[in-house]
C-alpha cells in the first residue's frame, strides 16, 4: 500500500543526486539547478563527495581551492559565494512561441483516453457534412496573418506551429494552404512546422506537404501491435481494423524521404507491461520516443501507480544498459515532460510561450482547454487574447508559475517533475495547486530515471574512449 498520495512526494530540500554510472564513472545531478547529468572523473568525484559529506546539499565555496572546484562550478554542481556560474547564452534565450494549431477537430480513430474536449471521433473522411470540424480556408489564412503580425510586433525569434487535432492529416489541404500563406508573409521570424498524427493517412497525399515545409513528424502509438490495435482502430463496415500495419508502412514511407518520425506512447493501465517490447522495437528501427501517462479525469489508484512505477523503474534501468549508443537517452527515451537541463517551476510553458488555436481561431491555454477559449484571433488580436491568461483565475498560475502554492513547491523534485501536467491535475482535483494524480509514479521514478540517463551517457563516453585511445 502506498502510504502517501498527497503532500510533497519528498520533503527534502532539492540537492544533489550522485552515484555510480557503470564501472568507470561517477555521476552527479543538481535538483535545485538542473543542468543535465554530469559524469565526473575520479578526482572531481572524490572532491564533490568530500564537500557534500553526509548531506545532499549543494556545496557552497568562498572561492575555488583546487582545480576540481572550478570544474564543479562550471557544471553547476557547487556555488561560489552562493551563486551559480551563469550559463552561456543559448539560442533558446530568444523569444519563442509554440502554437498547437488544432486544424481538425475530427479524428479517423477514437482512442478511449483522448483528452481533447468534444472531439468528433471515427470520422473517415472530411466530406461536406464534416467540414465544420476542420478549419475553413478563410480562417486558415486569417490565422496565418495574425500569427505573422504577432511575431513581428513582439520580436518573436522563433515560431513553431504544430498541426494537431483530432487527426490533422484529414485537413492536409488546409495545412498546405496555411503554410503557404504564413511563409508568403515573410516575417523576420524563424518558422518551423510539426505535426502530431496518428499515422493513419494516405502517404501519397500527405507526405509531399511534410517534405515541402520540412515538417517534424510525431506519431502516436499505443505500445506493441496487439495493444495498439485494440485501442487504435478504424471502424470498417465489417468491424474494427487495427492501424498498426498502416502506420508501419507509413513510417517506412516517411523514412524513404528522410523524415524520421518521433513516437509518442501514452501509458495506460492496459499497456504498461509491454513498454520494454515497445522500446526495443522502435529503437531498433531508429525512432526516438516519449512515454507519458494517461490523463483521465479520475484519480489513479495507489496499487496501479505502484505497479506502473515499478515497471517503469525496471524498464529505464534495463533500457539504459542496452539502448543503442546512437540515441540521446533523455530525448529519445524521454519520460513525460521531464527535461534534465531546464529549471522549471511548472511542467509546461502554456500561457507564456505556448497556446492552442482551435479550428475556429479561438485561443486557449492548451489543447486540453479548447473548451475554455480566452479570445478569438480572427475578430481580436492575439495580444489581447493572451493578455487574459494573466488575469483569468483558471490560467493565472500557468502565466505566472512562481505564484503556484501547495505541496509541489515543497518537494525535492519541484524544479524537475514540477508537478506534472497542470491541466490533468485540475481535471482530477479541480485545482492546479496540488500534486499530480501521478505523483507517486513521478516521485519514485525520478531518481531511477536520472540514474538511467547517467548509465547510458557513461556507455556513450566509454565508446568514445575506445575510438580515441
Amino acid at each position: 500500500m502506498i502510504e502517501k498520495l498527497h503532500g510533497p512526494f519528498s520533503a527534502r530540500l532539492p540537492g544533489l543526486i550522485t552515484g555510480a554510472a557503470g564501472d568507470s564513472w561517477r555521476f552527479a545531478f543538481n535538483l535545485l539547478e538542473p543542468r543535465g547529468v554530469k559524469l565526473l572523473p575520479p578526482n572531481t568525484a572524490k572532491r564533490l563527495d568530500a564537500l557534500v559529506g553526509d548531506s545532499n546539499a549543494v556545496p557552497n565555496l568562498k572561492a575555488p581551492e583546487i582545480p576540481e572546484d572550478s570544474a564543479l562550478y562550471e557544471h553547476g554542481l557547487v556555488t561560489i559565494g552562493s551563486r551559480y556560474q551563469p550559463t552561456a547564452a543559448r539560442p533558446t534565450d530568444e523569444r519563442t512561441l509554440n502554437v498547437w494549431l488544432h486544424i481538425s477537430n475530427a479524428c479517423n480513430i477514437g482512442c478511449f483516453y483522448c483528452y481533447i474536449p468534444d472531439l468528433q471521433k471515427n470520422v473517415v473522411k472530411i466530406h461536406e457534412r464534416a467540414r465544420q470540424f476542420v478549419v475553413d480556408d478563410t480562417s486558415a489564412k486569417a490565422i496565418a496573418k495574425r500569427l505573422a503580425e504577432h511575431c513581428a510586433a513582439n520580436q518573436i525569434g522563433r515560431l513553431h506551429v504544430k498541426f494537431a487535432g483530432g487527426e490533422p492529416t484529414l485537413a492536409i489541404r488546409e495545412i498546405d494552404l496555411f503554410c503557404e500563406e504564413l511563409m508568403s508573409l515573410r516575417v523576420p521570424t524563424k518558422i518551423s512546422f510539426g505535426i502530431l498524427t496518428n499515422g493513419v493517412f494516405s502517404p501519397d497525399v500527405v507526405i509531399p506537404t511534410f517534405v515541402n515545409f520540412k515538417f517534424k513528424v510525431s506519431i502516436s502509438i499505443d505500445g506493441t501491435q496487439a495493444n495498439h490495435d485494440k485501442i487504435r482502430f478504424t471502424r470498417a463496415s465489417r468491424g474494427r481494423s487495427g492501424t498498426w500495419s498502416t502506420i508501419q508502412e507509413n513510417i517506412l514511407r516517411l523514412k524513404e524521404v528522410g523524415i524520421n518520425p518521433y513516437i509518442l506512447h501514452t501509458i495506460t493501465r492496459s499497456n504498461f507491461t509491454q513498454i520494454d517490447l515497445f522500446a526495443e522495437y522502435f529503437s531498433s528501427i531508429g525512432c526516438g520516443f516519449r512515454l507519458s501517462l494517461e490523463r483521465s479525469d479520475h484519480a489513479v489508484e495507489p496499487e496501479l501507480q505502484k505497479k506502473i512505477s515499478g515497471t517503469l523503474t525496471h524498464f529505464y534501468r534495463s533500457f539504459s544498459e542496452f539502448a543503442p549508443l546512437e540515441i540521446r537517452f533523455d530525448r529519445d527515451a524521454k519520460f513525460s515532460e521531464w527535461t534534465l537541463d531546464k529549471k522549471k517551476h511548472i511542467a509546461c510553458s502554456s500561457c507564456r510561450k505556448y497556446f492552442a488555436i482551435s479550428q475556429r481561431g479561438e485561443i486557449s491555454s492548451c489543447q486540453m482547454r479548447l473548451d475554455e477559449p480566452v479570445g478569438d484571433l480572427i475578430s481580436d488580436s492575439i495580444q489581447n487574447a493572451i493578455g487574459r491568461f494573466s488575469t483569468d483565475k483558471r490560467t493565472s498560475i500557468l502565466h505566472s508559475p512562481l505564484s503556484k502554492i501547495g505541496d509541489c513547491t515543497q518537494c525535492e523534485y519541484r524544479h524537475t517533475c514540477a508537478g506534472g501536467c497542470p491541466q490533468h491535475t485540475r481535471n482530477v482535483y479541480g485545482e492546479m495547486d496540488r500534486p499530480s494524480p501521478w505523483c507517486y509514479v513521478y516521485g519514485s521514478l525520478f531518481p531511477a530515471y536520472v540514474q538511467a540517463c547517467a548509465t547510458h551517457l557513461a556507455r556513450r563516453a566509454n565508446k568514445h574512449s575506445a575510438h580515441t585511445l
Binding site: 547529468v37 559524469l39 510525431s218 524520421n260 533523455d330 529519445d332 510561450k353
Partner: protein, 46 residues
C-alpha cells in the same frame, strides 16, 4: 581512467554531442535522426 580524453574533464550531453558530431563528420555516419527537444504534445519548452 581510460576515457580517451583529458581525464580531468567533466563529461555531459553537450560534450558528447560535440565528439559524436565530429566523429560522424569523419566517418560519414549520422546519429539517429529524431525529433527536436521540445517535441511533445505539451511543448515543454521552458
Amino acid at each position: 581512467m581510460e576515457n580517451g580524453i583529458n581525464e580531468n574533464l567533466v563529461v555531459d550531453e553537450a560534450m558528447l554531442r560535440q565528439w559524436e558530431s565530429a566523429q560522424a563528420h569523419h566517418t560519414s555516419q549520422s546519429a539517429i535522426a529524431t525529433e527536436s527537444d521540445d517535441d511533445c504534445d505539451c511543448q515543454d519548452c521552458d
